[in-house]
C-alpha cells in the first residue's frame, strides 16, 4: 500500500515537475503575476491609503475582507481547541485559582531573565504593530510577539501564575474582541453610508482626507488583529500545554 502510494505520488510529481517548464521563469518581471494586478497595487496603494508598506495596504485595505476572516480563523482555532480540550468549567476554576500557592523552585535565573525580557518584548510588539505601515510588521506579527511574552512568562514561572495575570475568560474575550473590533470598524463604515470595510468613510469622523482615513482604518484593524492574535496564542498555549485542565503544564 505504501509502495503504491509512493509510486502514484512520484508519477504525479514527475508530471507536475515536467509541466512546470511552462511556468514563467523565476523572478521574471514580465510574468502575468507581476504584470497584471501587482503594478496597480504598487502604483496606487500609497496614494489611496497613505501606507508605504504595500503589503500592509493590500492586506488590511484592498483585501481587508480576507484579513478579517483570517482573524476569524485565528479566533476559530482558539475556540475549537478550547471546545475540544477544555475540561473543567472555567468559572468555578478561576475562583479557586488565586489561592493556590505558587510553585517554589530554583529557577531564579529564568524568572529574572523573564522579568527583564518580557517588558521589552511587549513594547517591541507594540512597535511592530504600530510600525506596520512603514516596515515589515503589523497586527499578526505584533500579536504573535505579544502573545509570546505571555508564553515566556508561563514557561519561566508556571501556567497557574500566568493564569492569574491573564485570566482564561479574559483571553477568550480578547480573542473575540479583536475580531469584533475589526468587524465593528467594517460595520461602522457601513453605517456611515460606505460599503463594508470602506475606511474612507472614517474621513468624516476623523476630519482627515480619505487616504489618511484609510491609513487610520488600517491601523485600527491591525490593532484588532493584534489583540486577537495575542490572545489566541496565549489561549492555544494554555489549552495545548495543559491538555485542557489548566492544573498541569509546562
Amino acid at each position: 500500500m505504501k509502495q503504491l502510494t509512493l509510486i502514484i505520488l512520484a508519477a504525479c510529481a514527475l508530471i507536475m515537475l515536467v509541466a512546470a517548464s511552462e511556468l514563467p521563469d523565476w523572478a521574471d518581471p514580465a510574468s502575468p503575476a507581476s504584470s497584471h494586478l501587482s503594478p496597480g497595487f504598487i502604483e496606487q496603494a500609497y496614494e489611496a491609503t497613505h501606507t508605504p508598506n504595500m503589503v500592509t495596504a493590500v492586506l488590511a485595505d484592498y483585501r481587508s475582507y480576507d484579513t478579517m476572516f483570517e482573524t476569524v480563523v485565528v479566533f476559530l482555532a482558539a475556540l475549537i481547541i478550547m471546545i475540544i480540550l477544555r475540561r473543567t468549567p472555567h468559572r468555578r476554576f478561576c475562583k479557586i485559582l488565586p489561592q493556590r500557592p505558587q510553585r517554589k523552585g530554583s529557577d531564579t535565573v529564568l524568572k529574572g531573565a523573564a522579568q527583564m525580557i518580557i517588558p521589552v518584548m511587549q513594547i517591541f510588539a507594540l512597535y511592530v504593530l504600530g510600525h506596520g505601515h512603514y516596515s515589515p510588521g503589523g497586527g499578526f506579527q505584533g500579536g504573535v510577539i505579544f502573545g509570546a511574552s505571555f508564553i515566556l512568562l508561563a514557561l519561566c514561572y508556571n501556567l497557574r501564575f500566568t493564569l492569574t495575570r491573564f485570566r482564561e475568560r479574559l483571553v477568550l474575550l480578547c480573542c473575540a474582541g479583536g475580531a469584533l473590533l475589526y468587524a465593528g470598524i467594517g460595520a461602522l463604515c457601513l453605517s456611515l453610508g460606505w460599503n463594508f470595510l470602506g475606511y474612507a468613510a472614517l474621513a468624516e469622523i476623523l476630519g482627515v482626507s480619505e487616504a489618511m482615513a484609510r491609513s487610520h482604518g488600517i491601523l485600527a484593524v491591525e490593532v484588532g488583529v493584534g489583540i486577537t492574535v495575542m490572545a489566541v496564542m496565549v489561549s492555544i498555549y494554555y489549552d495545548l500545554a495543559s491538555g485542557g485542565d489548566m492544573y498541569e503544564g509546562l
Binding site: 511552462e22 511556468l23 497584471h36 480576507d66 476559530l76 471546545i83 457601513l190 470595510l197
Partner: protein
C-alpha cells in the same frame, strides 16, 4: 440600505458568532435566542439579496471596502448563488431552531462557544457562496472546514479519530485547491472570478498545460471536499459520529456548497467550452458519478446505524449532482442545481427526523424505528416524506431533480448514468422500505427471542405517544412541507432562478 443586503448575509452570522462569546453570562436560552434571531436576519438578508437579483435580472456585485475589482474583493450574487444562499441560510435557521434541546444535551457546558462555532460555519458557507474571489473563497472554505472540525469533534469518543481523518483529508483538499489557484494566479496574475473568466478565454491559456493542471487541482480539491466517490471515505465516519445538531447542520450543507463551488469553478471561472472541449473528462467523470450513486446507495443499504446510512446516501447524491454537472447540457445542469436545493432540504429533513428519533429512543440502529408510527407519528410522517423525496416519489422535489437528470442523461446518451440513477433510486426505496417495515411490523425477526410479549400475531407493539418536542417538530415539519412545495413549484424555481444560470453554449 437595501443594496447593502449582500454583505449582511455574511456579517450578521459573523458578528453573532463573536458576540456569542461575550454573552456567556446571560445563559443558554439567551444564546439560543441570539443565534436564532441572527440566522433569521441572515435569511432575511439572503431573501432581500435574491430579490435584488431577480428585480435587476443580473448579478449583484458588492465591492468590499469600495475597492474596484479585480484589485479589491467583491461579492457576486447571481440567480444561482442567490438561491443557494437562501437554502443555506434557511437550513441553518431550521437547524438552529431545532437545536434547542439537542445542543444543550450535547454541550451541557460551553453552549455559547458551540453556537459560536455553529454561526461561524454558517458564515463560512454563506461567504463561500457569495464570494467572487478565488482566494477569498479559500479563506472561507477553511473557516467552514475548521469550524466543522470543531463541531464534529464535539461528538466525543470515536469522533476524534474520524474528525482527525477528516481534517487530514480536508486539508489535502483545501491545499489542492490553493495550489490550483496558485497555478491559475501564475498564469493569469488575477484572482477575481469575472476577471479570470475573461483572461482564461485567451487562446494561449486555453491550450496551456499549467492552466489545465491548475483546473485539475482545483477540481480534485473540491471533489475531496464534497466526498465524490472514490474520495468519500472520510465522510460517513465523520458525520455519523457527530452530535445531532452538528450532523443536521453539517451534513446537508457542506457537501452541497462544495457542489455549488464546483459549478462556479466549471462554468464561471472556466467555461463550458473549456471544460467539455479542452479538458474533456466528461465520460470519466460520469462513470465516477454513476459509481458514486450506486456504490453510495449500496453501502447505505449495508449500514445498521441510521445516521451512517444517511451519510452514505449523501455520497450517492453527490454522484447524482456531479454527473448532472458533467452531462454538458441544459437539462443536466438544471437537474444538478435543482438537486442542490432539493438534496439540501431532504438531507436536512431526514437528519432532523432521525435525530429526533434517536433523541427520543436513544437507539441509533433500526431498532429505533419500532412502533414509530404510534410513538412519534409526526416525526414518522416527516421521515416518510423525506424518504419519498430521496427515492424520487412525485410530487416531492426529489422526483423532479431526477427527472431533469435522467432527461439530461438521455439527451447526452449517458445510459450508464441513467441506469445508475434508477438503480440508486430502487436501492433507496429498499433502504427506506426496510426502515418503514420495521416501523410498521415491529422487529419481527427479533420477536422469537422474547416470546412472552409476542402474544397475538404481532399486531404492532402497543406504545405510548412520545412525540419529539415542539422545537424539533416545527423545523422538521417546515422542511418536509418545503420538500413538497419545492416539488410543486419546480417550474417557478427553474424558470425564475436556475434557467438564468445555465451557462452559455448549452
Amino acid at each position: 440600505m437595501i443594496d447593502q443586503a449582500p454583505v449582511f448575509i455574511v456579517i450578521i452570522p459573523l458578528l453573532a458568532a463573536l458576540l456569542l462569546v461575550f454573552a456567556t453570562p446571560l445563559g443558554p436560552r439567551f444564546a439560543y435566542g441570539m443565534l436564532v434571531t441572527a440566522l433569521a436576519a441572515t435569511l432575511a438578508a439572503a431573501l432581500a439579496t435574491l430579490n435584488l437579483v431577480v428585480a435587476a435580472n443580473q448579478a449583484v456585485h458588492y465591492r468590499m471596502g469600495d475597492w474596484l475589482p479585480p484589485h479589491g474583493i467583491e461579492l457576486v450574487i447571481d440567480h444561482l448563488s442567490g438561491v443557494v444562499l437562501v437554502l443555506v441560510a434557511g437550513c441553518a435557521l431550521l437547524t438552529a431552531i431545532y437545536s434547542l434541546r439537542t445542543a444543550e444535551q450535547d454541550n451541557p457546558d460551553r453552549l455559547n462557544q458551540y453556537y459560536s462555532l455553529f454561526a461561524l460555519l454558517v458564515t463560512g458557507l454563506l461567504g463561500m457562496v457569495a464570494s467572487g474571489d478565488l482566494f477569498n473563497l479559500y479563506v472561507l472554505l477553511e473557516i467552514s472546514a475548521l469550524s466543522s472540525y470543531g463541531l464534529l469533534a464535539r461528538g466525543g469518543g470515536q469522533a476524534y479519530y474520524a474528525t482527525f481523518k477528516y481534517l487530514i483529508v480536508g486539508t489535502i483538499g483545501a491545499c489542492f485547491y490553493l495550489l490550483g489557484v496558485g497555478y491559475i494566479y501564475i498564469m493569469t496574475g488575477s484572482l477575481n472570478m469575472a476577471d479570470l473568466a475573461v483572461i482564461l478565454s485567451r487562446p494561449e491559456l486555453q491550450e496551456s498545460v499549467s492552466v489545465k493542471i491548475g483546473f485539475t487541482l482545483i477540481i480534485l480539491g473540491i471533489w475531496i471536499k464534497m466526498a465524490l466517490f472514490p474520495l468519500h471515505a472520510w465522510l460517513p465516519n465523520a458525520y455519523s459520529k457527530a452530535g445531532t445538531t452538528t450532523a443536521c447542520l453539517v451534513a446537508p450543507l457542506m457537501t452541497k456548497v462544495s457542489v455549488y463551488i464546483m459549478l462556479r469553478m466549471m462554468f464561471t471561472v472556466f467555461s463550458a467550452d473549456y471544460i467539455f472541449n479542452q479538458i474533456a473528462w466528461s465520460e470519466l467523470v460520469i462513470y465516477l458519478a454513476s459509481a458514486a450513486a450506486v456504490v453510495g446507495m449500496l453501502a447505505a443499504l449495508a449500514q445498521r446505524d441510521l445516521r451512517k446510512m444517511l451519510t452514505y446516501i449523501i455520497v450517492a447524491e453527490i454522484g447524482y449532482m456531479t454527473g448532472g454537472a458533467w452531462l454538458a447540457n441544459a437539462a443536466g445542469f438544471t437537474g444538478t442545481t435543482y438537486h442542490i436545493l432539493a438534496d439540501g432540504l431532504m438531507t436536512l429533513c431526514l437528519f432532523m427526523a432521525v435525530g429526533a428519533i434517536i433523541y427520543r429512543t436513544g437507539e441509533t440502529t433500526k431498532a429505533a424505528m419500532v412502533g414509530i408510527f404510534q410513538k412519534m407519528p409526526i416525526t414518522a410522517v416527516v421521515l416518510v416524506i423525506g424518504a419519498a423525496s430521496i427515492i424520487g416519489v412525485p410530487p416531492t422535489c426529489g422526483f423532479f431533480s431526477k427527472w431533469y437528470l435522467i432527461q439530461g442523461a438521455a439527451q447526452a446518451g449517458a445510459w450508464v448514468f441513467v441506469a445508475a440513477l434508477l438503480i440508486a433510486s430502487l436501492v433507496a426505496a429498499v433502504i427506506f422500505f426496510r426502515l418503514l417495515e420495521v416501523a410498521f411490523f415491529g422487529d419481527l425477526d427479533a420477536a422469537p427471542a422474547a416470546p412472552e410479549d409476542g402474544h397475538g400475531q404481532g399486531h404492532g407493539p402497543a406504545v405510548a405517544r412520545a412525540e419529539a418536542p415542539l422545537s424539533m417538530l416545527i423545523p422538521m415539519m417546515i422542511s418536509a412541507a418545503g420538500l413538497i412545495v419545492l416539488g410543486i413549484y419546480t417550474r417557478e424555481v427553474v424558470s425564475y432562478f436556475i434557467s438564468w444560470s445555465i451557462p452559455a453554449g448549452f
